[in-house]
């Protein structure tokens, strides 16, 4: 670890605070200071991504391997370069080869993982007893099973939702609405937390009004 020539905590906090205020200025109305901060963000974010991708992935997983004479790595290296051909209209078709590989591998892995994780394990956990245990556990299991089955039924359009089916579908809607309400509550919590984080930065590190 080296100490950077322009690393200065106080200056950094001031820069961070001014950039924070620049973004907040958008709440009043759109303005040039906000847009300047926005473009700085995109520039810095992509510079960061380039650096991290090179030093964390391209260098250890490709460049160093080639330097160690692992010539096998030339294949993914060339495929990687073919990916860059996407930027040129005449040679964009070359990028289909590495893209096909990425998509094929991702699809192959996704099939088994989805079946095992999102289908089998989820169904298995839904097959719970609703009799024999204590009242509370039975009730909890019943709610869970009813929630899964009725919500699934709501999305099942091969049967017209009439009569008894309409009632089952309505129960499904109720479960989905409760889920959306819970999701809304959590979303509010998440968004407020983000604001708290910025206020903590401004008030603790910049203004020193709280400790």
């Amino acid at each position: 670890m080296e100490h950077g020539i322009f690393y200065n905590e106080t200056a950094g906090v001031w820069i961070g605070a001014l950039l924070t205020l620049a973004i907040f200025s958008f709440l009043y109305k759109d303005n040039i200071v906000y847009r300047l901060a926005e473009y700085i963000f995109i520039g810095v974010a992509n510079g960061y991504l380039l650096t991290i991708t090179y030093f964390n992935q391209v260098k250890p997983n490709l460049v160093d391997k080639l330097a160690e004479h692992n010539w096998w790595y030339l294949i993914p290296g060339i495929l990687g370069l073919m990916m860059v051909a996407r930027l040129n209209k005449d040679f964009a078709w070359l990028s289909r080869w590495p893209m096909a590989y990425i998509v094929g591998l991702g699809s192959g892995l996704a099939i088994t993982a989805s079946v095992q994780t999102d289908i089998m394990a989820q169904i298995y956990d839904t097959l719970k007893p609703i009799m024999g245990g204590d009242f509370i556990t039975n009730l909890q299991n019943l709610i869970l099973i009813a929630g899964v089955l009725t919500s699934l039924f709501y999305f099942f359009f091969s049967v017209e939702h009439k009569g008894i089916y309409k009632n089952v579908s309505f129960v499904g809607i109720c479960f989905l609405m409760i889920m959306l309400g819970g999701s809304f509550g959590n979303t509010v919590m998440a968004r407020i937390s983000l604001l708290i984080g910025r206020m903590q930065f401004l008030m603790e590190r910049w203004l020193h009004v709280i400790s």
């Binding site: 964390n56 956990d125 959590n186 604001l195 708290i196």
Partner: protein, 273 residues
């Protein structure tokens, strides 16, 4: 009057929300934190590991979710070092390993004897989400031949004998969305049977609950409130606990706005009749 309130300038709403955050920060009330079962289980998953166990700790988030997940990051790291666990830090998001470094920087003065490469290591970021997680099940070095500083992992005592998930007692993912907790559960937990716990942003919590219910996540820390609970259990109050008063007040303000909006709506609806 209702018409006036209905067309309230949005900046007044913004000001109310800002004040509901700022005022409790300046005048803390210190309301007691209630520990949920989800967070308790996450804590126990770390607490039950024998000293010396290796933990794979992945920061799958960026500064956009830092306010919620960074306090968790600090509290869990602290807990790991209290329990003398060895921590292998990584991230499926480019900013993850930087957040890890930052979190460690916050607590390292409390653990001056910790040595890089022996007690903890940062193996950096890898693009490729599901393949990174899946490859660890076969061989850790597929994705991570070197640490973040470029040192061969076989030269680091903490990783010398690491093979695959069997070398880790627990996987912890701090997850801000896709390429996070669910990927670790799918390819690490379900396929390779390693225990996984997650800390997630509150906005993605609903998506994570089915995996917690099925036991695929051994514990679930939900948002800043979850971070506050974890801090309380670790016995080191931080940004999570300090933020709870502001969180409480702003929730009340937002509930107030929803009620006000509906009073106006119902008054207009039944007034017309």
């Amino acid at each position: 009057m209702w018409e006036k309130i209905k067309n309230l300038d949005k900046r007044i709403i913004y000001l109310c929300v800002a004040l509901s955050v700022i005022i409790p920060m300046l005048n803390p009330i210190g309301l007691p934190i209630v520990i949920t079962e989800e967070t308790r289980r996450a804590f126990q998953a770390v607490d039950n590991l024998p000293p010396g166990s290796r933990v794979l700790f992945s920061a799958d988030y960026d500064p956009g979710s830092e306010a919620e997940l960074f306090p968790m990051n600090i509290a869990i790291l602290r807990h790991c070092f209290q329990k003398k666990l060895r921590v292998v830090m990584t991230g499926l998001w480019p900013q993850g390993p930087a957040e890890m470094n930052k979190a460690f920087g916050e607590i390292k003065k409390d653990y001056p004897t910790l040595t890089y490469g022996t007690d903890y290591v940062n193996v950096g970021y890898k693009a490729g989400g599901l393949v990174v997680v899946n490859s660890i099940g076969s061989d850790f070095t597929i994705a991570f031949p070197k640490d973040q500083a470029g040192t061969d992992i076989r030269e680091l005592p903490i990783l010398q004998d690491v093979k695959n998930y069997s070398s880790f007692g627990l996987v912890i993912s701090l997850s801000a969305g896709s390429s996070g907790g669910v990927v670790w559960v799918a390819y690490g937990g379900t396929k390779y049977h390693v225990d996984v716990i997650t800390g997630c942003t509150a906005v993605s919590a609903t998506e994570f609950y089915p995996y917690y219910s099925s036991g695929q996540f051994k514990g679930l820390i939900n948002g800043l409130a979850g971070a506050a609970e974890y801090e309380k259990m670790v016995g080191a109050p931080g940004k999570g606990i300090r933020g709870m008063d502001a969180q409480s007040m702003s929730h009340l303000v937002i509930i107030g706005f929803i009620i006000l909006g509906n009073v106006i709506y119902l008054t207009e609806k039944y007034g017309k009749k």
